[in-house]
Symmetry: C3
Subunit: 358 residues, 3 copies
Amino acid sequence: MVGSYERGSSMSPFMMNAWYVIANSGEIGEKPLARTILNKKLVIFRTASGEYGALLDRCPHRMAPLSFGEVIGETLRCGYHGLAFDPHGKCVSALLGTVPSGAKVQSFPVKLAHGLIWMWAGDPGKADPSQIPDFSFIDAAMAENRWVIHDYTHVQANYQIETDNLMDLSHIELIHRGTFGGRGVIQNGKFDYQSSEKQVDANWWMPSVPSPLPDLPKGGTGIIDHWLDMRWHAPSAMRLQLGYAIAGEVDPPNRESANRGFQYHILSPETEKTTHYFWGGTQSTDLMGEYSADMTRGALATAFQNEDKPILEAVQSNTVTDFWSEKPLSLKTDAGGVLARRALEKLIAAEEGALAKG
Amino acid sequence: MVGSYERGSSMSPFMMNAWYVIANSGEIGEKPLARTILNKKLVIFRTASGEYGALLDRCPHRMAPLSFGEVIGETLRCGYHGLAFDPHGKCVSALLGTVPSGAKVQSFPVKLAHGLIWMWAGDPGKADPSQIPDFSFIDAAMAENRWVIHDYTHVQANYQIETDNLMDLSHIELIHRGTFGGRGVIQNGKFDYQSSEKQVDANWWMPSVPSPLPDLPKGGTGIIDHWLDMRWHAPSAMRLQLGYAIAGEVDPPNRESANRGFQYHILSPETEKTTHYFWGGTQSTDLMGEYSADMTRGALATAFQNEDKPILEAVQSNTVTDFWSEKPLSLKTDAGGVLARRALEKLIAAEEGALAKG
Amino acid sequence: MVGSYERGSSMSPFMMNAWYVIANSGEIGEKPLARTILNKKLVIFRTASGEYGALLDRCPHRMAPLSFGEVIGETLRCGYHGLAFDPHGKCVSALLGTVPSGAKVQSFPVKLAHGLIWMWAGDPGKADPSQIPDFSFIDAAMAENRWVIHDYTHVQANYQIETDNLMDLSHIELIHRGTFGGRGVIQNGKFDYQSSEKQVDANWWMPSVPSPLPDLPKGGTGIIDHWLDMRWHAPSAMRLQLGYAIAGEVDPPNRESANRGFQYHILSPETEKTTHYFWGGTQSTDLMGEYSADMTRGALATAFQNEDKPILEAVQSNTVTDFWSEKPLSLKTDAGGVLARRALEKLIAAEEGALAKG
């Protein structure tokens, strides 16, 4: 922990050269969407031909939000006096005639991947779609006609408070006892982790525990070997693999062929103190075979909205300046969250170092 | 534009030696009214004999708002412990006996004119009723028993953002297409303007356009010659003349005898970021002959409350410091608003110069 | 008044070495209560054996409010990851095994007295229960099976604004004319006061006045000799004795044997600008004999919530910095409030002087 306590509060709160999810594709229909990302007020829209745009939500003429306007062909037209902009922010038409020369609004690189719209927040020249984290389990489900759910929860807490929550699933025992926690399975688990420059794995292996859900197929109603594997990718995108096998049949079970499913938990900072929480999951023919998309969405929404969100927001309001200044007492199960914080601090410091030199 | 970009943010936001509307007379009945004008919390009241008063809304005894009190004869009595003040702010009676010597609350000169209550915000010695802008069309209508409407909308935006809106009526094409805009008449118009020290005219002349309203009398349902003449008087009082003639009958039509009506649009800053928008109009025997007061009020309220207000408030929230610091891109139709801003900047600078010398 | 005008704003706003009411005992049941006292966010709880605790409402692990947790035996367990603390703030158990060494949360001395829970805000070594102000009239009523009411009103005003209100009951004439004031009794009264280091008495003696309530027993419906004696104890606990006798029967009447009752009015600062107002009263076999607890509670709640609270909050919003900086104009009936302010300023200054030396 050497050094990181002091550095925390003076650093940039965000990694800039990174892809952030700004919407799921179902959110962007005929109407433009206003959303603040990393303190920037943006308008997100899709043109008639299907191109996505993310522009500063402010017409350079009289500062009206472009999100009050409408998509006209390949442009977003301001609803106040009618200047129209293409997805790259260039003004291409005006209601009353001549397009003012140089009329432009800042645009950001956007990319549709895994049913999600990603935006590159930093230097546009460095935007490389291959750096979008791997959520191909979503594409696989779509290709196989299994259901996919995409949903969203707004949280009034710093995104790293929510990362801590997701990287330490021991919280399910008390927080989620109204939904999928509370049967003591975590207390019987083993916790393991590993980390690299941009990735942290925080895994729970819980052998011979009572099933946390009453109606799991294929032997899932009795005593099971259960696992919850969370993988974080910098700055704040997480993938959860959850699975089980009949206790002791194979130890450890072959996960590729086991009863398992996947979820995504992706956090995009709105401001330092508020977060867009994009979450979803896909149907697994095994584990989730018996659950409909609506049932799954409903259960997860209850857990994230009613159970996690209030405590995360309360933690935020109890955090006077920044996390490390609160001198938190860490337990061994905090390793995943702490390693993710450390990795991100190094990445941000490297960006700032490069800026200082550049 | 030389110089004005830099000056903007350090200047006083308000002209002080000026008359501001603080209420329409219908708002001040038996109960005193609390209203903040130019950041000053005021109480406005009318005594039994009909005299109006505008005092700081703060009893000098224990700081209760005088607006919690009640009018007793020629005084406003504090509702907390009973000190009573005349319209000039002098304490003239006390519930428990002796009037404390020197008990006084700050008062402002007020004047009823054109059915509106005007307050002089600056040096009381300079308050000259002849400087109240000319809205005698209201008095004329009252004298002829034509209806007059007075109404009010609170707007969470700087008053000059609303001045810009009113001085550039090209916004009616998109913003007001739900009420009286949207038929392309503005695109076929000619825009002209002129300015002097305290006055700016911004006029639209739209020959041979489709009628913007479906039921105008005297040939107003077909192709008309249409005009919208807005006159701004410093700091923020506007008069709109709107009229039409059968296209080409007389070009330009004789406006004195034409189908025309008048409206007022008067802005009084509540704070730097919020505005009291007083608006109204009178019945014209020609143009508005077929419209009742209620119909007219309803249509205007819809336009100002539901169509203008949201965009003005959004422009305010997109204005980080002040207008010029946003480096707005101006079109030719912005001339009226820009000239009004320049004229007001000069008037405020002159006041500040006089203060610095004085 | 020498000196106090200037000192006001730079001093600590609170006396620290003092007992403050943080709840009435009826408020603390099975669930812990979150409440901010003197700017400190606290959780107040009662263990299974009946011991009360007041801790900072912030788990030292991941900063969740402990008030989201639950009482488990003699501990309060955090609802996020399960650390459990005793009433002295020591962590005594953990959900996932080992208790982290040194895990502790700040605790405050608490004491149940007169049906109220008192907290010592300053140096725990100086907490002396004998300094809790005398409200033994509550215990006497409980011992005699007379009813006692305890209630609570949150007020968005500094506690001293409310002290001023309670120490100058001349406000009942106008403010409480909807409940128990407004018959001119105060105008016929004599006001007297006396003060010592930590106590101020502000007493109204109103001989031969009409009864302020229409249904007082034992001659209380006609012309009465009436008194209202308020006693303030530093920093902000007040006791009201209210009574009457048939006018002139005994002058002054023997108060010990007269028709009289008692109320408490105790103010605990939440912040500099918000106050917990704890109030209540007891049944007097004489004065209040005909009134039920519910009737009394209802009448008092109406008076304090609907009549006092709005004006106190408006006074707060009219107080830009602090009371003395507003240069209030004081009347003779303000003596009680002013003396209480002076006494408290001296006590706070003495504390600060001791701190500076220490």
